[in-house]
Amino acid sequence: MVDILSAAVDIAFNGLAFAMVLYLISVGLSVTMGLMGFVNLAHGVFAMAGGYVVTSLMKLWGVPFPLALIGAALAVAAASIPMERLLYRRFYGGDELDQVLLTIGLAYMSVAGATYIWGPLQQPLQPPRWLSGPIDLGFRSFPAYRSFLILCGAALVTALWFGVERTRFGARLRAAVDNTRMAQSVGIDTSRLFMATFALGSGLAGLGGALGADLLAVNPGYALQNLIYFLIVVAVGGLGSIRGPFFAALLLGVADTASKYLVPEFGAFFIYALTLAVLLWRPHGLFGRA
């Protein structure tokens, strides 16, 4: 009985940590998809870039971990702005095939580019001493890094939801998601709003990739290897939703951890079957609008 309970706590704990990473990375993808009507298969590149920036900053210049995290998020957000202005913007709401090809092309370039700069090997994340090892909570101990991941994720999710519900930027964003033309008519500069949203989504992905560097290994093939996870989170959550992907990430994170823990011989079958089942039941995702 104690064993079962302990296993359940382990699964919930690790699943939650994975879910936080998945959500941070995927929420930007959901918004670009719902708001700009853009299928961005290269979204994982931002997360990968975040992972590379954080490991490089720490290894090469000895930047402290929290600063390196912030640096990764800012660097990725800044780098995404010219991409949005020069490439992505002209395809908003356009032909899906064009978007798919453009972003697959970018993902392929990222594979070669990352190999060129960092080599083919995985970049390990060395968490600082205060985050390695376990934390004892009295009744049992938890790995410190994963606990930090969960706390960080929870704080960011709260901040993000607060920002979307309570700030002027959030109100504009919601208006544009609901009805872009109407938002333009009442004087919202949607082009700049799209740019800011895109940068925010990319920055969050960069942060997610940096935080999750020991869950999703940072290597050149990152963007394509993990693409299916990000797409599942977005599709199951419901396109354009900000909350939907959170519950989808939670479901996927816990299901993935549970299946690896309980039935490793089935591999990823379980989550694929779950995805198919959810989408058969609700083709527009859990929180999507028909």
Binding site: L87, E96, L101, M109, V111, A235, L280, P283
Partner: protein
């Protein structure tokens, strides 16, 4: 009364144009001109069929898919498993590969074609990933990571054995491709094919005029899967090897890229894009295999930004510039 001008346009489309003979003449000429490249040539021919299958589903039905490799791999593993377990007859192997792929196409199509956009794209990827996992886990049967070993393919009709120089393989692939192309051409120019274009261009209107949209999409998805299965079976039989990469995302992405280089929705894009891509890959990727992806990625971006429609699209634009008043 029939609109005779409209009928004439459709009839002209269906009639064979002399230019359509060019790829076949080129393929026969290549046999004599490059005798040492026949194994690559056979692979190119089989891959053209794969790209043709992608063109049916993407170019004609407008279904953007990242899972075409699922059917390619299903065909390849079916033919491969048959040949490795005592039934090396190639023609029936092709049919078995086509049937297995079509069955998977039909069953998965029933589920995934209910969705659209990003969700559909993701589900095509999920289907391919499920097959990939299944083949990977069933390593006692499929060889898993190491690939399927020990295929014994019998001579075609018991008379033409596969040789080291790829002569038989080349003509085998060429003939199968030709037959499939004839079938695809018929499908595309049939009323069924025209209704697919209608669905691609304006799905709501097709619904409104009472066309059975869902069923037609499912049918073309299944047919396309069968073609992809034949293509996979061809490659398995002619190279004697099937591996996990046959089912990977790379394979699905690459076939789209080859098709785009040639031009989508034209039935001939595959004949241009695949040879261009594969010959370039054969030349350059041996020098720097990783950076090959960089250039392909860059080419993709440039094609989408500057040259929509690929080589055939460019040719069409040049042609219409030459004809004043169009």
């Amino acid at each position: 009364m029939l609109d005779s001008a409209g009928v004439a346009i459709l009839a002209r489309r269906h009639r064979y144009h002399p230019l359509e003979a060019v790829p076949w003449l080129a393929a026969v000429a290549a046999y004599f001109a490059f005798p040492s490249y026949l194994p690559l040539g056979a692979q190119i021919l089989a891959t053209i069929l794969f790209a043709l299958s992608a063109d049916l589903v993407l170019g004609y039905a407008g279904i953007v898919t990242l899972g075409q490799a699922a059917f390619f791999g299903a065909g390849a593993y079916t033919a491969g498993l048959l040949a490795a377990h005592g039934w090396g007859e190639p023609i029936t192997g092709l049919f078995a590969g086509a049937a297995a792929a079509a069955l998977i196409g039909l069953l998965s199509g029933l589920v995934i074609l209910r969705t659209a956009g990003l969700t559909l794209l993701m589900l095509t990827l999920v289907v391919a990933s499920i097959l990939y996992e299944a083949v990977n886990k069933a390593s006692w049967l499929t060889g898993g990571d190491d690939g399927l070993q020990g295929m014994q393919v019998w001579p075609i009709f018991g008379r033409y054995p596969f040789d080291l120089f790829g002569r038989t393989a080349y003509f085998y692939c060429l003939i199968v491709l030709f037959l499939c192309w004839l079938a695809a051409r018929r499908i595309v120019h049939s009323p069924f094919g025209r209704s697919l274009v209608g669905i691609r261009e304006n799905i709501r209107r097709m619904h409104a005029i009472g066309a059975p949209v869902e069923r037609r999409r499912l049918i073309v998805y299944t047919i396309s899967a069968a073609f992809a299965g034949i293509s996979g079976a061809l490659i398995a039989q002619t190279t004697g090897f099937v591996g996990l990469t046959f089912l990977g995302l790379d394979r699905s992405g690459t076939v789209l890229i080859m098709l785009i280089i040639g031009g989508v929705g034209r039935l001939y894009g595959a004949f241009i894009g695949v040879p261009l891509y594969m010959i370039a890959q054969d030349r350059f990727s041996t020098i720097e295999p990783v950076y090959w992806y960089f250039w392909i990625g860059l080419l993709m971006v440039l094609l989408v930004v500057f040259a929509r429609g690929g080589v055939l699209g460019l040719a069409e634009r040049l042609q219409s510039r030459g004809e004043p008043g169009r």
